[in-house]
Amino acid sequence: MTGKTFKIKIIILVSLLVLISLLLAGCTGIFYIPGASYGYYIWEENNSIFIEWSVDKKDTEFNGVISTDGKITAYKLKNWEEGDDIIEVGEDRIEFSAALSSQDYSDGFIFTPQDYTYLEFDLEINNGYELSRVNVGGFLENPKDDVFRIGKDYFSQLEMKPWYRKHPFSEFFYKLSANKYFTFLYLFILGIIIIEILRVTVIARRKRKIMWVMISYAVLIIIEICIYFILRFLTG
C-alpha cells in the first residue's frame, strides 16, 4: 500500500466515524447541547427518570407538572438556581417552574418513581405547548397530546424500535417507497452510469467484455429487486 493510498483510507475512515457519531448523536435523544438545543429531553436511566431542558441562550420559561399513580421516592436537582427556579415535590406529583437565560443554559431534575403504571406529563414552554420540542426517550419522539401519559415499559419499548423507524431514516425510506417508480428509475440510471464507468475502466481490460457487461446489468436488476423488498420491509 502506498503512502498516498493509506492517507486517503485514513481520511475516509475518520470522515465515516465523524459522520456516524453525528448521526448517532442526533438519534439517541438524550444527546443535546445545553445552551444550543431547544426543548425538553426526557429519558430513563437505572429506574430513574431524567427531565432536562435547554434553550439557545434566550430568556425562556419552562414549567410543568408530572404526576403518577405510584410514588415518587427520590429526586435530585440539576443546575438549579435557588430563588429563580421553583420545584414542589409531593408523594405522587412534581410541579416545577424554571427560567433559562443567556447565562443559564439548562436545568433539570431526576426522580425515581415506584409502583407505577403510568407517568403523566404536562410540560409547557413560555406558558404554551410545543410538542415538537418535547423529546421523550429520543430525538423527535414527541407526544401527541398536550398532557400525555407514558407507561412503565415506554422507554424499554422505544429502545427496541429499529433505527429505520426513527427520524430521519423513517421519512427518507417512506419517500423512496411512496415514490417507487422514481426510486427504481433513479437507481437504474445511477446503475447504468456506474456500469458504463466499469465498462470503460475495469471491464475494458478483461477478455469477455460483453459477458461482464451482461453480468453487471443482471446484478443491477437483482439490486433493484432487492431494493423493492428492502423498502417494503423498512416501511412496513
Binding site: D56, L140, I189, I197
Partner: protein
C-alpha cells in the same frame, strides 16, 4: 453517414479530442464520473430560492402572463416554459401546483418538503440546470489550449468536478448556471472574433443575471482593434442591453435591466467602503476603485490575448467575492475563468478548494435556510428541530465573529489568487513577446 457522425463528434468534444481515441475515452470517463456525482445530488437537496423561482414560474403559467416577474424576466420566462414542458410530460407535477401557488413562504416550503414525490420534483426542477451545465462543460474546453487535447481534458475535468459548481448548481440549486452558459457562449464568440454577436449574447446574459455586466468592459476592450471599434462596440454593448430592455418593455410593458440596478446585487458592489471623514458623505467604494484599476490595467496591455481576457475575468470576480458581500451562488461566477488558469497554475486549484471549504463555513451567515434546511427534503421535521450550527457556535463563541474570521481568510485567499493570476498574466505576456520575437526572426 460516418462523416456526418464524425462531424457531430468533433462539434461536441472538439476536433483534437475526437481524433485522439485515448483522449476521447478519458473524456468519456470524466463525463460519466461527473454525471454520477450530479445525479447523486439531484433529488435530495435544495435551497429555498429554487422553490421561489418555480413558484414565480407557476404563477406565470397560472396567470398566463410571461412578463410577471419584474426582476428577472428572462430567467422567469425560461423557468415558466420549462415548467410548462415538464407538467405536460409528467402530469404528476400538476398535483404540486397548489403548493407552488401558496403565497405563504413557510407553508409552501413545509408542504413542498413533506410531499411524497419531492425527490422526483427536485430532480425534474434541476435537470434544466444539468442541461445548461453540460452545455458549459463542452463550451469551456474550447476556450484555450488549441491543439493541446491533454490540457483541454484537464479543463473539462476541473469544470466537471469543481466543488463550487456542484454545490451551487446541484445542492444549492440556483439558476446562475443559465447565465453562466450565456456568458460562455458570448466569450466563445469573442474568441472567434464575432464581435457583435458576442456583445449581443452577453447583453442577454446580463438580462438573465446581473453579473456578466462586470466583464462587458473587458470584452469591449478585447474585441476593439481600432478607435472606431471602441465606439461601435461600446454602443453595441449598450444597444444590446437597450434592445433587450426595449423588447421586454414593448412586449411585457416592463423594464428588465433597470430593476436589476435597484436590487441588492448592485448594493453589494457598494457595500465595502472607506469613509474619508467620519460623519461626512465622502466615501470611496472599494470594489469600484479596484474594478477601475483592473479595467485600466487591461486597457494598457498592448496585445490582449483571449487567455488574458479570461484571467482578467477571474481577477474581477475574485476581487468581487474577496471584497464585497456576496451570496454563496455568486462564487460560481469565478469558476469558468479559473478552470482555464488551473491548468497553467495548479496551486490555484488547491486555493479554489480552500475557498469552497471556507464558503461552507461562511454559509452560516445566512442561518438555517442555507445550512440544515438544505437537507430538509430527506426529513423536514428532523432538520427543522435539529440543533442548528449557529446556536452551537453561539454557545461557545460569538457566531458573527466566528464566521467573519473565516470570511476574512476567504478574502485573503481570494486576493492571493488574484496575485497568482497577475503573475500568470505576466508569464502569458512574456510568452506572447517571445512568440513575437521568434516570429520576427
Amino acid at each position: 453517414m460516418k462523416k456526418f457522425f464524425n462531424k457531430i463528434g468533433s462539434l461536441i468534444v472538439t476536433r483534437e479530442i475526437f481524433e485522439d481515441k485515448k483522449s476521447l475515452k478519458t473524456l468519456y470517463k470524466y463525463f460519466l464520473g461527473g454525471l454520477l456525482v450530479r445525479f447523486i445530488f439531484l433529488p435530495f437537496f435544495f435551497e429555498r430560492d429554487i422553490l421561489s423561482t418555480y413558484q414565480r414560474a407557476a404563477e406565470t403559467l397560472y396567470t398566463k402572463n410571461l412578463g410577471l416577474d419584474n426582476l428577472q424576466i428572462l430567467t422567469n420566462m425560461i423557468h415558466s416554459i420549462y415548467l410548462f414542458i415538464i407538467k405536460s410530460i409528467f402530469p404528476a407535477i400538476n398535483q404540486l401546483f397548489s403548493v407552488l401557488l401558496e403565497k405563504d413562504t413557510w407553508i409552501s416550503w413545509i408542504e413542498f418538503n413533506s410531499s411524497y414525490n419531492i425527490f422526483t420534483t427536485l430532480t425534474l426542477f434541476k435537470i434544466l440546470y444539468l442541461v445548461f451545465d453540460i452545455g458549459c462543460m463542452f463550451l469551456i474546453m474550447r476556450f484555450s489550449f488549441d491543439d493541446e487535447p491533454e490540457n483541454k481534458l484537464r479543463v473539462f475535468k476541473f469544470w466537471i468536478f469543481n466543488p463550487i459548481l456542484l454545490f451551487v448548481v446541484y445542492i444549492f440549486a440556483r439558476h446562475d448556471i443559465i447565465a453562466v452558459f450565456t456568458t460562455l457562449v458570448a466569450l466563445l464568440l469573442a474568441k472567434k472574433d464575432r464581435k457583435y454577436w458576442a456583445i449581443g449574447i452577453l447583453a442577454i446574459g446580463i438580462a438573465l443575471r446581473f453579473f456578466p455586466i462586470m466583464i462587458l468592459p473587458l470584452l469591449v476592450l478585447y474585441l476593439a482593434r481600432t478607435k472606431k471599434d471602441y465606439i461601435i462596440l461600446s454602443l453595441t454593448g449598450l444597444s444590446g442591453i437597450t434592445a433587450v430592455e426595449l423588447l421586454c418593455h414593448f412586449i411585457f410593458g416592463k423594464s428588465v435591466i433597470l430593476p436589476l440596478l435597484k436590487t441588492q446585487h448592485f448594493e453589494y458592489f457598494l457595500s465595502t467602503k472607506f469613509d474619508l471623514v467620519t460623519g461626512s458623505h465622502s466615501s470611496i467604494f472599494i470594489f469600484i476603485a479596484a474594478y477601475i484599476f483592473i479595467i485600466l490595467s487591461f486597457l494598457h496591455i498592448k496585445k490582449k490575448s483571449f487567455d488574458l481576457l479570461l484571467n482578467y475575468g477571474a481577477i474581477i470576480y475574485l476581487a468581487y467575492v474577496g471584497i464585497c458581500f456576496f451570496h454563496p451562488q455568486y462564487v460560481l461566477w469565478v469558476v469558468p475563468f479559473l478552470v482555464i488558469a488551473f491548468v497553467r497554475r495548479k496551486s490555484l486549484l488547491y486555493y479554489n478548494w480552500l475557498q469552497f471549504v471556507l464558503l461552507m463555513v461562511i454559509l452560516i451567515y445566512w442561518g438555517d435556510l442555507v445550512t440544515k434546511f438544505v437537507l430538509a427534503p430527506i426529513d423536514y421535521r428532523y432538520f427543522i428541530y435539529l440543533t442548528g450550527i449557529i446556536p452551537i457556535i453561539e454557545r461557545f463563541y460569538d457566531s458573527a465573529k466566528f464566521v467573519n474570521i473565516f470570511r476574512s481568510i476567504f478574502t485573503g485567499v481570494s486576493l492571493w489568487m488574484v496575485y497568482l493570476i497577475y503573475k500568470d498574466n505576466k508569464k502569458l505576456m512574456g510568452n506572447e513577446l517571445d512568440n513575437n520575437r521568434l516570429g520576427k526572426v
